[in-house]
Symmetry: C2
């Protein structure tokens, strides 16, 4: 019996009061005043926000669990300053922790980080520790471009990121590489910024030698790995031109792709070129694309349908739906085992 | 009998004296002095530079013609100022014109533009006219990010680009959307910047309504359309969410993808999801990836092999190798007809 674990779900349906507070917080920062106190949000409000959405869809689609993190597009690291990011991040992560507490069999937490442009990533370590050690979270979303769309941060292989990676290794948690909203009028968040950032992250890993320094560090590149599987020949060829080892040993011992690719031909390609040990089921639900595909009559983001249609053998199917997630998120595995699952 | 027309070839093998002059030009600009005079390059030097490379490979691979433009990665619009870009651009385009004159049956010209960050695109009109009207070029490479890797230009749908589009329409020439080298240490040129920029350009076209204003404007998005075919479901879904018409009418009357995708599964996907009327054969040869794929024993960039392996019907094959190129580049078609081809 395989648990169907969706590795990529955001709390895109948080109660309105949460989003209203964010607006007030930003307005206060702009006005140079204090943010209002964070509102009371009842358990019933939280229940309503997921029961009509994520829980309903998990049930309808036949999935069991979601690795759940704050809404990525509104992490908004480029907005305000480090203190604004810190307060918003804590509020978002604490809300995830409450949802996980209400539905411990269905949700498990992944945190956003209080990143802010120009602020050292080391300053995000405390929030990672708080979420992992106090809230039982199992990973984090690391924003490679907290500036919001101009790619001004050093590459992910730069030593500036190392203090955070050391903590990830110590806590044995992976990071999903995930940008947030865009403040660049040329970069639509979910249609351009996300996919570009995914692709760029992979190439940074290819060009560098990060995993020689951190052999156990693990990243998930979401949205099916950006453009990478489609251009797998280009990346294999570039590794060769750059005198790197083959991708299988140089990058793919440490990097995983999810299945957030919203049509059957894309999923087919993903599984044709990428070793299934590197693929984690994910849907980004309820997320970037919420409509129904007129060509299939099904939701674009019902990625389980596409994966099921592959007709994977039992071993591979189990790995993609459950085993890989338990391997990449050892703290998830430990919690599942403790619950007899 | 089908002509095999490669729509995407750069002069990556220009004689060393050309590249040396560029270095001297940049050094002079940095020193605040005048650039040295452009060197004499003999016809024999030009012949040698393509006969050992592009001409040899065209012959070996069974292609007939290349739509030929200056080396994209060294257009270097972010280097120097407008005058530096202007002088370098003229030198590059004039070299292409000479190669075309030496091998008129094999090469046809596409120009780079004297773009420069912060300089109006209207300033590139004169060079486009010169190349089209005096050199017989049939298109141009338009850089959507002349800043070199921070995406600071307005989206391609912004009115700032319109004066140039008006001239493209008047001359009836298409543009390949093509960035140049990267000055961003996080963005490898051919592995990250190119593919990200391609993807971003498509999403800009999707988000805007450019082709309502310019119904006959035509763009080629190279490198197989970046990430777009792999994420075709996402883009169809985003068009729906943004209340745009279906992509077939909203974007794909005006936008074309080439076949610069360096493995069979990628080409298979491209042809599975994109109407072949929107696909132009291209190889980016001699270009980004020059090695031999150990999995196939063939050159990664021998994309004709992948296209041939599709087993296209005669009509589709003719369109992808010749017909679409003649339709997208009407001035190519006219020149071929004048030559009885």
């Amino acid at each position: 019996m395989t648990l169907i674990i969706d590795c990529h779900g955001h709390y895109t349906t948080a109660p309105a009061a949460h989003d209203e507070w964010r607006k007030a917080q930003i307005a206060a920062w702009r006005a140079g005043t204090d943010a209002p106190p964070y509102p009371d949000i009842s358990d019933d409000d939280l229940r309503a926000s997921v029961e009509a959405n994520q829980l309903r869809l998990l049930g309808e689609r036949g999935a069991d669990m979601t690795i759940f993190s704050p809404r990525a597009s509104v992490m908004g690291h480029h907005i305000g300053d480090a203190a604004v990011s810190q307060a918003w991040t804590r509020a978002c992560n604490d809300l995830i922790a409450r949802v996980v507490q209400l539905y411990p069999e269905t949700f498990i937490g992944v945190c956003q980080l209080p990143q802010s442009p120009g602020v050292a990533i080391a300053d995000s370590i405390a929030e990672l520790e708080r979420c992992v050690l106090e809230h039982g979270f199992v990973g984090c979303n690391l924003n490679p471009d907290p500036g919001g769309g101009h790619f001004t941060s050093p590459p992910l292989t730069d030593r500036a990121w190392y203090p955070f990676y050391e903590k990830m290794v110590e806590l044995d948690v992976p990071a999903m590489v995930h940008v947030s909203g865009s403040c660049n009028p040329g970069l639509h968040a979910t249609g351009a910024f996300y996919i570009a950032a995914d692709t760029i992250a992979f190439m940074q890993f290819l060009e560098g030698d990060l995993f020689a320094d951190f052999p156990t560090l693990r990243f998930i590149i979401p949205h099916g790995g950006g453009a990478v599987p489609y251009h797998w020949g280009r990346y294999r060829g570039l590794a060769d031109m750059l005198k790197k080892p083959p991708l299988a040993s140089h990058v793919m011992q440490n990097v995983y792709f999810d299945t957030c690719v919203y049509h059957q031909p894309g999923i087919d390609l993903l599984f044709e070129v990428i070793d299934p040990k590197n693929i984690l089921f994910g849907s980004e639900m309820v997320g970037a694309v919420r409509g129904i595909d007129p060509e299939t009559g099904q939701y674009f983001d019902d990625t389980k349908r596409y994966v099921d249609a592959l007709g994977l053998d039992d071993t591979t199917r189990h790995a993609v739906y459950e085993g890989n997630a338990r391997r990449v998120f050892p703290r998830l595995d430990a919690q599942l085992k403790a619950a007899g699952r």
